[in-house]
Symmetry: C2
Subunit: 160 residues, 2 copies
């Protein structure tokens, strides 16, 4: 895997394709993921978003996974993991865990003491929740009816 943190122009399309391909996000969510890339391309570090990209080591250089995280405004040292996505063919390969660990390492280097990440409470997201728990995250909150009536938001936290 080739690792990098700098955002490239091509990431706008690559992140769109990767996030959509997972099948875990709505069209609106895919647009938001792309917006964070585009904002960072336009405004650099002042956008407040950090990235870890994992590109295929072969000639294709295809984006196989990425995370996007950033300091939570109005907090002293909390960080939100906004996005993590792994290409369907690379899931269960350990890449997700590597992406999270690298993101935590970089966030800690920027002074983060608490990392937060959230997902949905629906059955479809049970593997996502299990993944965060395997990565050492504790379930900090369940907000019932958050995404929609009957669809909770589950917030995980990890002390770095």
């Amino acid at each position: 895997m080739k690792w990098r943190t700098a955002v490239r122009e091509s990431d706008s399309a690559a992140v769109r394709e990767l996030v959509a391909a997972t099948g875990f996000f709505t069209d609106e969510e895919v647009e938001v993921a792309v917006e964070l890339v585009d904002e960072t391309l336009a405004n650099g570090k002042s956008s407040g978003y950090e990235f870890v990209f994992a590109d295929a080591p072969d000639d294709s250089g295809r984006l196989l996974g990425y995370t996007c995280f950033g300091a939570i405004p109005m907090t002293v040292s909390s960080c939100d993991l906004y996005w993590i996505a792994v290409a369907p063919g690379k899931q269960r390969s350990g890449l997700g865990g590597q992406l999270i660990r690298e993101s935590e390492r970089l966030a800690k280097g920027l002074g983060t003491t608490q990392m937060f990440v959230d997902t949905a409470g629906r059955e479809k997201y049970a593997p996502t929740r299990a993944f965060y728990e395997r990565c050492g995250y504790r379930k900090a909150a369940v907000l019932d009816d958050f995404y929609a009536p009957g669809d909770a938001k589950v917030i995980y936290a990890k002390t770095l």
Copy 2:
């Protein structure tokens, strides 16, 4: 009290003065409150923020209280009450409750089914938490160490 929802140019300075005068917000938080007003002045409804303003009924027309709320992106019908502030001289007058009820009424008219609001867990914010509970909000989550180590975020929710 004179009620309105349209944002005026003068609200940028008025909200800054009001929010700072409460003594409950950091300089950074005051800037964020003003930014939401300025974004709405610049971009109108597309900014996604709704407001309720309570102006003094006398000739001064001074801003005595306001709320700012908006639909939470990527949710079907959840709304976040981003800001509520009441001038120090008008606290304990019932104005805060009126502002919340009017905001809930407008949010419900826009299709909101769940209203969320958050505050800090520190002792200083005990009156704020008691206020939300009196307004019918239930404590939905406590995120330890969110604002800073030892300073939790408390999330309240109300079904509209």
